[in-house]
């Protein structure tokens, strides 16, 4: 393989007039720039969604608080959920896919660069459309701005009888538009992985992150499609007199639930599978060992991909499915825990016997392992249907899925930021600020989401803008809110670290972590065409082979 990459200055556009630079970014079809655009866009919405979460937490600090009106509160949790899933986590993960997949498989770009740009701008405008509802949502009805139907918009709440005005339309259209963007990106990822690998990069030699993005792409195609279909049906209901979900005219509310969750549950895995990928890259490097059980990790991922398509109705145990359906979705949900457990064991196996270096990326991955363990186990508890009859729709569920999304996905993504930031910018993130970020976030996270399980056990339902005194929820909610503010401070430290290190961080070498995958063989930041000569690989760890010619991996695979 070749490591004599040509560094082409000018991937960063300093020195050009700002208008020209802006024009280059807006019209770019380069996978790295689109990746960065996705990530910056997602980070922007992380802050917006975070502010919405803080408004929710201030309102719930004590009983009968009137910081915001019930209408505003309902908009806040709707926008928080929609924003964080569709316009924060999805874009950031797509951004990493865009940036890393071609580099890791030794390609010069994605398979369809213009489709890539098109997909990004669709997703971007989807987000703008959602937030434009604050201005345009009232329509002629004066019905109140911004959607307030909850992020899953259960029928018939989304029908015109219950949601006059245009706020629900903005919600529908923004998901429809960004959904098309997601489908485009998924097609692009799958095509890139299948068609653009460098010589020698057999499927069985791809870095695990690439494998996981391949599975994620397939799941996006299957999951987003029914969501888009449902949104179109809802629009037909609202404007062309359809009755799919219009219960007043004999439509079915349960049908919407099925449509939404056959998207919604695979979506959780769409989001968590790249996080698994980050761990599978970072843990080996900082344990100084190859991933334990590579073929099993691939098999477990594919198994998760398939099984997770059959678990969606575990969100619906309380809606009155018959006992056979409930039993079916109980066993599929429990079963998906098996490949997930195997993954956790393999990561422990990777660390076992290694020399673990506690750099910030590794810290976040270790945080992930502990938290995802708990998130998985509370998931198993809720898969036990009768127990879920108590826990479903309560704050226990809210705690559970934030454990998955924040404690799992977000922690892994933070790890990924610290790990790949030197490659993307050519500068290291500050370790000192990174440790502040990590520990503040760990403390805030556990204060908020550990405690949040308890009000659920004490009967507190989700999505209530206030609660009665004397239910025993006051103190717990105050602690939860304090934790939320600590997390907010940690995020500020993180953003500050991103900005400050960009200008004053230590210069990064091509391979600052002594890693083994192809992206570290090129310069930091990589040149526009990534590799001067397309590399040729002989094992899963091409850079290991290069650094240890006496004992290459290719001898064992």
């Amino acid at each position: 393989m070749s490591s004599n990459a040509i560094t082409i200055p000018g991937i960063r556009v300093e020195g050009k007039p700002w208008l020209e630079a802006l024009h280059e970014w807006v019209t770019t079809v380069d996978h790295k720039r689109l990746g960065i655009l996705y990530i910056i866009y997602g980070l922007g919405f992380l802050v917006v969604g975070g502010v919405e979460a803080l408004i929710i937490r201030i309102q719930l600090m004590h009983s009968h608080n009137d910081f915001v009106s019930p209408q505003t509160f309902n908009r806040m949790f709707t926008m928080h959920g929609t924003t964080m899933i569709f316009f924060m986590v999805m874009p950031v993960l797509f951004g990493f896919a865009n940036y890393l997949v071609p580099l890791m498989i030794g390609a010069r770009d994605m398979a369809f660069p213009r489709l890539n740009a098109f997909s990004f701008w669709l997703s971007a405008f989807g987000g703008f459309l959602l937030y434009f509802s604050f201005l345009g949502g009232s329509g002629l009805y004066g019905a109140g701005n911004a959607p307030d139907v909850g992020w899953w918009a259960y029928a018939p709440l989304g029908a015109r009888a219950f949601s006059p005005g245009h706020s629900t339309d903005y919600w529908t259209l923004s998901l429809l538009v960004s959904g098309f963007g997601s489908i485009g990106t998924a097609i692009n990822i799958i095509s890139t992985v299948l068609c653009m690998r460098c010589p020698g990069m057999k499927l069985g030699r791809m870095p695990l992150l690439v494998w996981l993005y391949l599975v994620m792409g397939g799941m996006v195609l299957i999951a987003i499609t029914p969501l888009s279909a449902a949104q179109i049906m809802l629009l037909i209901d609202r404007y062309v007199g359809g009755h799919f979900f219009d219960t007043q005219a004999g439509g079915s509310a349960v049908l919407w639930m099925h449509f939404f969750w056959i998207f919604g549950h695979p979506e959780v895995y769409v989001l968590v599978i790249p996080a698994f990928g980050f761990l599978s890259e970072i843990i080996p490097v900082f344990s100084r060992k190859p991933i334990f059980g590579y073929p099993v990790m691939v098999a477990a991922t594919v198994a998760i991909g398939f099984v997770s398509l059959s678990v969606w109705a575990h969100h619906m145990f309380t809606v009155g499915m018959n006992s056979y359906a409930n039993s079916f979705f109980a066993i599929t949900t429990m079963a998906v825990g098996i490949p997930t457990g195997i993954k956790i064991f393999n990561w422990i196996g990777t660390m076992w016997g290694g020399r673990i270096q506690f750099k910030v990326p590794m810290l976040f991955c270790i945080g992930f392992l502990f938290q995802f363990l708990i998130a998985g186990l509370t998931g198993i508890i809720q898969a036990s249907v009768p127990v879920d009859w108590q826990l479903s729709l309560s704050y226990f569920v809210v705690a559970h899925f934030h454990y998955v999304i924040v404690g799992g996905i977000l922690f892994a993504t933070f790890g990924a930021f610290y790990y790949w930031y030197p490659k993307v910018t050519g500068r290291m993130l500050s370790e000192r600020l990174g440790k502040w970020h990590f520990w503040l976030f760990v403390i805030g996270f556990h204060l908020t989401f550990d405690v949040m399980h308890i009000p659920g056990l004490l009967g507190m339902p989700r999505r209530i803008y206030t609660y009665e005194p004397g239910r025993g929820w006051d103190t717990l909610n105050l602690i939860i809110s304090i934790g939320a503010f600590i997390q907010a401070i940690a995020i500020l430290v993180f953003v500050w670290n991103l900005i400050r290190s960009y200008f004053t961080g230590a210069k990064a070498a091509n391979d600052p972590w002594d890693a083994w995958t192809l992206e570290w063989s090129t310069s930091s930041p990589p040149p526009a065409y990534n590799f001067a000569t397309i590399p040729v690989v002989a094992s899963r760890r091409p850079l290991w082979d290069l650094k240890h010619p006496e004992d290459p991996d290719s001898r064992y695979e």
Binding site: M351, I380, V385, L393, G472
Partner: protein, 336 residues
């Protein structure tokens, strides 16, 4: 199940046993469905707890034992790629655990959901509205709102209550943590749930499925009565509304304003269905689905300015003149 007993000692908050308290707790069951769930959750918690301890210990051990020390940072550790035996072990064991958990779960699902309805069961139709509860006792000819009365179920002579769950508008969910798990009220999709409370007292809960602006103040109160009290309550509710000539003026106000568009009072021309039946309004302890105690002052405020009590409720401000309001209040307060 011993673990269940242990668990309830550990997490039960005493308040739940005190019928006057408004605290709720899924670990303080007072009825068979809630108790079966507690037993199952103790079992599930025990298994997941063991898994947690094992994996947590492995993780902590790996992190502590295999951390890089300054002495060996320059050499790479042995490169191990995997082990089929170990992979098989940590695949088969979880499969067995899942099988056990599923069996335990399926048993309780069947016992709860497919329980036959005894002929002596009290039948109640619960209809969810934005943002209040309607209760109809079809076999007893009673219609009431927001405060459900059911008889206590003696172990020797079980009298369970079976609820038929319907919705008039959006989705709702009926949840009294001490009595049973929650079941949703979904339009065009009738559901069923049951409970057989072991003790008398008032049990609270609230709507658990987001149903619109005032989802938060759609509170539930279930009064579990002795069989005698329940029979008396039913007899009182079956009577038509009091027709007291001294408050005829108030009744006229009620019958000639928009009140009757939404509310019903048995024995008058008022037969609206959008709002709660007011035939025996004064027999209830709260108004506005539990948002405020049923006092004369609150009721007056509720009629004139519902937004002050429950912002976004569908009750319009009636804007009555003071004399009309006084006579209306006089009438309503006779509706015992």
């Amino acid at each position: 199940m011993q673990s269940a007993a242990f668990l309830s000692c550990f997490v039960t908050i005493d308040a739940a046993a005190d019928p006057t308290s408004t605290a709720t707790n899924i670990f303080a069951p007072q009825s068979t469905p809630a108790r079966s769930i507690l037993h199952l959750s103790a079992f599930v918690l025990a298994i997941t707890g063991i898994i947690f301890v094992v994996v947590f210990t492995l993780l902590v051990y790996a992190i502590a034992k295999f951390r890089a020390r300054s002495a060996n940072t320059n050499s790479e550790p042995a490169q191990v790629y995997g082990s089929t035996q170990i992979e098989l072990a940590w695949t088969i064991i979880p499969v067995l655990i899942v099988v056990v958990l599923f069996m335990a779960t399926a048993r309780v699902i069947h016992a709860m959901q497919d329980a036959p309805e005894p002929t002596n069961a009290v039948k109640v139709t619960v209809i969810g509205h934005q943002f209040w509860w309607e209760y109809r006792y079809p076999e007893l000819g009673v219609v009431t709102a927001n405060e459900l009365h059911i008889p206590v179920s003696d172990v020797a002579h079980p009298t369970p209550t079976f609820l038929q769950l319907l919705s008039a508008d959006t989705d709702h969910s009926f949840w009294i943590p001490e009595l049973a798990g929650k079941t949703d009220l979904v339009p065009n999709h009738p559901n069923r749930m049951w409970m057989d409370p072991e003790h008398t007292g008032v049990f609270v809960g609230q709507c658990a499925q987001y149903c619109g602006t005032q989802h938060a103040k759609m509170l539930l109160r279930v009064s579990v009565d002795t069989p005698e009290d329940f029979a008396r309550w039913i007899r009182e509710q079956q009577r038509p509304a009091v027709a007291d000539e001294r408050v005829a003026a108030g009744r006229r106000v009620f019958e000639t304003t928009a009140c009757i568009n939404c509310h019903a009072i048995n024995g008058t021309v008022a037969n609206g269905r959008f709002g709660p039946d007011l035939t025996h309004l004064m027999s209830r302890t709260t108004i506005a689905a539990g948002a405020a105690p049923n006092t004369s002052q609150n009721l007056r405020l509720w009629i004139q300015n519902p937004e002050a009590i429950k912002r976004g409720s569908l009750m319009p401000a009636m804007q009555l003149s003071k004399s009309d309001l006084d006579s209306l209040m006089g009438y309503l307060e006779t509706l015992r």
